[in-house]
Symmetry: C2
Subunit: 202 residues, 2 copies
DNA sequence: GACGCACCATGACAATTGTCAGCGGGAGGG
DNA sequence: CCCTCCCGCTGACAATTGTCATGGTGCGTC
């Protein structure tokens, strides 16, 4: 019984290479390979894969959002998130989005193959080390608005731009920064943004 | 006549996958695959590859530095830089490091195969679009010290830490920031860092 | 209904950051 | 030799940023 795979990965070379790798396994068949998150649902509808391998960083729709869409529109298709970096918060969000597997790209090939087989058999597969890190990072203490402000400050924007974009007073924006800085235990926005990002508190 | 390849890429899954992909071509033979930049020279000495495919982001030694080492220690081995993102400045630095080819990871597989063949035949291979962007970005107007200061501010460090790390006065650090901000046409450090980074002015 | 909490805002204050002018030294180039 | 440019420093100033106290709203919960 062969397992039908959908592969979503934006870098074409990597996508092609993963196809080649997965095709080496007798019991795998890559039935669709797409380069954008917003092509995942369409491809799944058309090719009915058993397992979808989704990268997180993708244009159009990120892998997490794509996973959520799949969970709703193609519940028979198991989702495995395949990502570059084991960001602690990614795992939580992946699980919330309905993924049942999570593999980092610097794992050996056998781990991926194994994960695919176990997931298609109904198991959940998560790197235990990463799971521990996720639990350790805890749930986000940031309030919705604090997240908004941090996100809006990404390209290095000043208070004025952020306030305008979010229809807030400048003082309010600075207050949110202040509390975010306190909650991350840092000393300025830049660091607060970095830390919150690393912890997956975005 | 088969082309002997050395592959350096830190993410094991991607490395394995690229191996599988390259092995599909009859005239390629992957003779070595390593996961760290500082293993490149050793592997080249031992396996005498015709072409080395080097990722840029790697632990130990980055691909650019590894290319420089190869150019010196194994001049018969042509270097192709294979990188995730077509950062404008990467190309210049790759060429300075002695690379003769430059391929981005979201190119199609044929482009990579073609690049390898042409490079091994003595040609130089560069994505023309990227070359144009590199020329457009021009050469860095930043002074060595300005670069140092920007680099030191990466994790969101404050003036005090940077001054300490570089044995400079705090005022001096702020002056360098100021001129960097002016030269990048931005309004604060964060933005200046981002822009300088994007332009490859690191 | 009292309570906690997120939300939005002020105003005031201190600390940090960005800008500017100027000083001296050393390296290179005409 | 003079000129330019990078280096490093200082001091002063304005702007931005971080902190704190305070106050009002609405929501959900006990």
């Amino acid at each position: 019984m062969t397992i039908r795979l959908l592969l979503a990965e934006d870098q074409e070379l990597v996508r092609t290479a993963l196809c080649a790798l997965l095709d080496l396994e007798d019991d795998f068949e890559v039935v669709a390979a797409v380069g954008r998150g917003d092509q995942v649902a369409e491809a799944a509808r058309e090719h009915r894969p058993d397992v979808a391998l989704l990268d997180i960083e993708m244009p159009g729709l990120d892998g997490l959002a794509a996973a959520a869409v799949l969970a709703q529109r193609a519940p028979r298709c198991r989702v495995v998130i395949l990502t570059t970096f084991g960001r602690a918060g990614y795992l939580r969000r992946a699980m919330e989005a309905g993924a049942v597997g999570f593999v980092v790209k610097d794992a050996p090939a056998e781990v991926l193959a194994d994960a695919i087989r176990r997931v298609s058999a109904g198991e959940r597969v998560v790197d235990p080390e990463l799971a521990a890190a996720t639990l350790a990072a805890g749930t986000s203490p940031l309030t919705a608005r604090e997240r908004d402000v941090l996100n809006a400050s990404r390209p290095g924007a000043g208070v004025a731009e952020i306030a305008a974009k979010l229809y807030l007073s400048e003082g309010t924006v600075r207050n949110y920064f202040s509390s975010a800085i306190a909650k991350t235990g840092t000393r300025n926005r830049t660091e607060a943004l970095r830390v919150a990002d690393e912890r997956g508190w975005l």
